[in-house]
C-alpha cells in the first residue's frame, strides 16, 4: 500500500517519457495535417477528428502490444512501467475524436447529440448498415472507465482482482474499435489498403497475445512435469544466479518465485500485490525483491514490503536435498517470515 496518494506519480523517468510522448504525438499530428494539404480538401474539424481517431487507434495497438512483448524481452520494461500514461493519453485522443465527431456530425440539429448518436442508423438492414457510432461510443465508455481508474487509489479500493478484471475490458474495447473502423471509415474508403492495415493491426494484437500465451503455457507444462511427492522440485542450486529467481508453477493461478540472495534461498509468491507483476522476473535491488513492472519491493525472507510500506505476499518453505531445491506447495500466510534455506556442501539444508 502506498503511504500516500498523488494525482500523478511523476518521477524523472516518467517526466522524460511523457515529454517524448507529447513530442511524438505532436510530430504525428503535424505530419497528418501536412499530408492533408497535399490531398483532397477536407473540412478542418473532420481532419482533426480523423487525426485524433487514427492516433488513438495507433496508441491502443501500442498499449496492447507492450504486455505480450514484455513476455519475450525485458527491454520492454520501460514501456511497461509507463504504460499507464500511454493509456490515459490514448483515451484523451479518443475523447477528442469523439467530441469532434459528436459536435460536427450530431450537433446543430433538431435532436440532442446523444439521442442522435444512439438512434444512429435506425432502422438498418444487414451487417453492412450496422451503425458504427454507437459501437465507438461503447468503446469510449470502456476506455473512460479504465482511464478514470488508472490510479493506485482505485487499484487499492477496488482490489487488484476487480481492478484487473475491469482493465481486461480493454480487449473488448479493442474489438469494438476494430468494428467501429470496419463498419465506419472502411466502408467509405476507396483504397483497399486501409482495410489491409486494419486487418494487420488486429492480427498483430491477436497474434502476439496468442504467442505470449503459448510461451507461458509451455513454461507451465514444463514446471508441472517436475512436480514430485507433495513438494515441488524447483531445480538445481546452480540454476539460480545471485539476486535472481526461478519461477515454479504450483497451479493455474499460483506461481512461486524462488530467489537466491546473500547465499541463501527464499520463496515468495510470484505475483506482485500491486498489479500482479511476475516477481520471478525481478531482481534483488537494495536487498529487496523488486518487481520488474513497477518496482514494488518485498523482503525475500518475509514477503513484506520494507517499512513504511505494508504490502504482504505469501511465503513458502524450501528444502534442499543434495543440490536440488524443493518448495512446499502450501503457502504461508502473507508476510510470514521464513529463514533463508542454505545449501550445504554435499548434504541437505
Amino acid at each position: 500500500m502506498s503511504v500516500s496518494y498523488r494525482a500523478v506519480q511523476w518521477n524523472p523517468a516518467k517526466k522524460a517519457y511523457d515529454r517524448r510522448l507529447v513530442v511524438g504525438i505532436a510530430v504525428y499530428l503535424v505530419a497528418f495535417l501536412v499530408a492533408a494539404q497535399a490531398a483532397f480538401e477536407v473540412s478542418p474539424l473532420i481532419l482533426a477528428m480523423r487525426a485524433f481517431g487514427v492516433g488513438a487507434a495507433v496508441l491502443l495497438v501500442l498499449v496492447l502490444s507492450i504486455g505480450p512483448l514484455a513476455r519475450f524481452t525485458p527491454r520492454m520494461a520501460p514501456l511497461l512501467y509507463n504504460r499507464r500514461h500511454l493509456g490515459v493519453t490514448m483515451f484523451l485522443m479518443a475523447l477528442a475524436h469523439a467530441l469532434l465527431a459528436t459536435v460536427w456530425y450530431h450537433g446543430f440539429g433538431v435532436l440532442d447529440p446523444l439521442t442522435s448518436i444512439l438512434s444512429s442508423g435506425v432502422p438498418f438492414e444487414g451487417a453492412v448498415q450496422l451503425p458504427f457510432q454507437p459501437i465507438g461510443l461503447a468503446a469510449l465508455a470502456i476506455l473512460f472507465a479504465m482511464a478514470a481508474t488508472s490510479h493506485d487509489f482505485w487499484l487499492r479500493n477496488l482490489s487488484p482482482r476487480v481492478w484487473k478484471a475491469m482493465h481486461l475490458c480493454v480487449y473488448l474495447a479493442f474489438a469494438l474499435v476494430v468494428a467501429h473502423v470496419a463498419f465506419g471509415a472502411l466502408q467509405d474508403a476507396v483504397w483497399p489498403g486501409y482495410a489491409v492495415i486494419t486487418a494487420i493491426a488486429a492480427a498483430w494484437v491477436v497474434g502476439i497475445h496468442l504467442a505470449a500465451g503459448v510461451k507461458e503455457l509451455r513454461a507451465d507444462r514444463r514446471a508441472r512435469a517436475l512436480a514430485a511427492d507433495g513438494w515441488v522440485r524447483v531445480g538445481e542450486v546452480g540454476e539460480i544466479d545471485e539476486g535472481r529467481a526461478k519461477a515454479v508453477k504450483l497451479g493455474p493461478a499460483r506461481t512461486v518465485a524462488v530467489f537466491r540472495h546473500a547465499g541463501g534461498f527464499s520463496a515468495i509468491s510470484g505475483v506482485c500485490a500491486h498489479q500482479g507483476g511476475p516477481l520471478a522476473e525481478g531482481r534483488i535491488v537494495d536487498g529487496c525483491v523488486t518487481c520488474p513492472w513497477h518496482g514494488y519491493q518485498y523482503l525475500a525472507e518475509s514477503g513484506q514490503s520494507p517499512p513504511p510500506f505494508t504490502e504482504r505476499i505469501p511465503t513458502y518453505e524450501l528444502r534442499i536435498e543434495g543440490r536440488t531445491i524443493f518448495v512446499s506447495p502450501r503457502p504461508n500466510a502473507p508476510g510470514t517470515p521464513v529463514p533463508p534455506c542454505v545449501a550445504r556442501e554435499g548434504g541437505a539444508a
Binding site: Y28, S43, I46, F108, V110, Q133, G193, D286, Y296
Partner: protein
C-alpha cells in the same frame, strides 16, 4: 534496505536515490543489483535507454507513415465551397415549396434556383413563411447570407438577424421541363453538406449528419456518379411534390439506392417526384 531507502511516497513510485543525478543517470548512481535491471524510479540502464530510443523513433516513423497514408489515398471530396467569410445579398422570386429557394435572374437572361437554408442543420421553412403568399402570388425578396456552391449549383445559408426583406428584382417566369419517368442509382444526401458545408458530405461516416439535416428540413438530394467521377444532383420529393418524410428516407440515406420517379427540370434544377426507393440492381 529499508533504513537506507530514500524518501518515497509509494512503493514503486519513490524518487531517485539521494545524490543521484537527474535522468538519465550514470552507472555510479545504480543501487546494488540494478545496474542492468530496469526499475522505473531508478536511473535507466544504458541498454534500456538505447532500446527505448530506437523503439520510440520506429513508432514515431510508423505513426508518420500512417498519417501520410491516411491522407494520400483518401477519397475525393468535391469542389464545394462554403464561403463563411463574406455575407452576400441575393434578390429574386421567393419559392416556398417544396423547399425554400430563390429564383435569381442571371445576367444572360436565364434563371437559377438558389436553395435557402438556416444555419446549422435546419431548413428555412419557418423563416420564409411570413413572406410567402397562400394565393400563389409571386413575391420578390432580398435574402442575406453566406453562399455554398458546388459545380455551379448554389445555396444560401441565411444570416441570423432578419435575413429576408420584401422587394427586389422579379425574374421572368419559366415553365418546368418535363423529363418523364426516370430510374437513377446513386446516394441520398442532404443538399447543404453535399454542396460544400462538409467535406466529405457523403458516405457512411456522414450518414447520421445527413439524416439529422434532412430531419431538420434541409432538402434531400440524390447524387449520381458518372464513370468519370463527375456527379449530378437532383432534389427528391414525394409523389405529390411535397417533401418526403425522414422516416421514409432514413433507411436509404448514405447507401447505394435506386430511385424511380417523375423528373422535372426547373430553372436548371432537377427535381424527382419519387414513386419508389430500392436497392440498386
Amino acid at each position: 534496505m529499508s533504513g537506507e531507502r530514500p524518501p518515497q511516497e509509494s512503493n514503486g513510485a519513490r524518487d531517485f536515490p539521494a545524490g543521484a543525478s537527474d535522468f538519465p543517470a550514470g552507472a555510479s548512481d545504480f543501487p546494488a543489483g540494478a545496474s542492468d535491471f530496469y526499475v522505473g524510479y531508478l536511473p535507466t540502464p544504458a541498454h534500456d535507454r538505447r532500446f527505448t530510443r530506437i523503439l520510440g523513433v520506429a513508432v514515431a516513423l510508423a505513426a508518420v507513415a500512417i498519417a501520410v497514408l491516411c491522407n494520400a489515398f483518401a477519397r475525393p471530396t468535391g469542389s464545394g465551397v462554403w464561403d463563411t467569410g463574406s455575407e452576400v445579398t441575393l434578390e429574386g422570386e421567393l419559392v416556398a415549396k417544396p423547399f425554400p429557394m430563390l429564383r435569381v435572374a442571371r445576367g444572360d437572361g436565364t434563371v437559377e434556383r438558389v436553395l435557402l437554408v438556416e444555419m446549422g442543420k435546419h431548413g428555412a421553412d419557418a423563416r420564409v413563411a411570413p413572406f410567402a403568399r397562400a394565393d400563389g402570388t409571386r413575391v420578390a425578396v432580398q435574402a442575406r447570407g453566406y453562399l455554398i456552391a458546388r459545380d455551379g449549383q448554389r445555396m444560401l445559408e441565411l444570416s441570423e438577424d432578419a435575413p429576408i426583406a420584401a422587394g427586389g428584382v422579379m425574374p421572368p417566369a419559366t415553365l418546368p421541363e418535363r423529363i418523364g419517368t426516370v430510374e437513377l442509382e446513386g446516394e441520398i444526401v442532404d443538399s447543404k453538406c453535399w454542396l460544400g458545408v462538409m467535406k466529405p458530405g457523403d458516405g457512411k461516416a456522414h450518414r447520421d449528419c445527413a439524416t439529422l439535416c434532412i430531419r431538420g428540413g434541409i432538402p434531400p438530394s440524390i447524387v449520381c456518379r458518372a464513370p468519370d467521377r463527375s456527379t449530378r444532383r437532383a432534389l427528391v420529393v414525394g409523389q405529390d411534390g411535397a417533401p418526403l418524410s425522414v422516416e421514409v428516407l432514413a433507411p436509404w440515406i448514405a447507401r447505394p439506392v435506386r430511385v424511380r420517379g417523375q423528373a422535372d427540370v426547373v430553372d436548371g434544377l432537377a427535381v424527382i417526384r419519387v414513386t419508389a426507393l430500392g436497392e440498386p440492381e
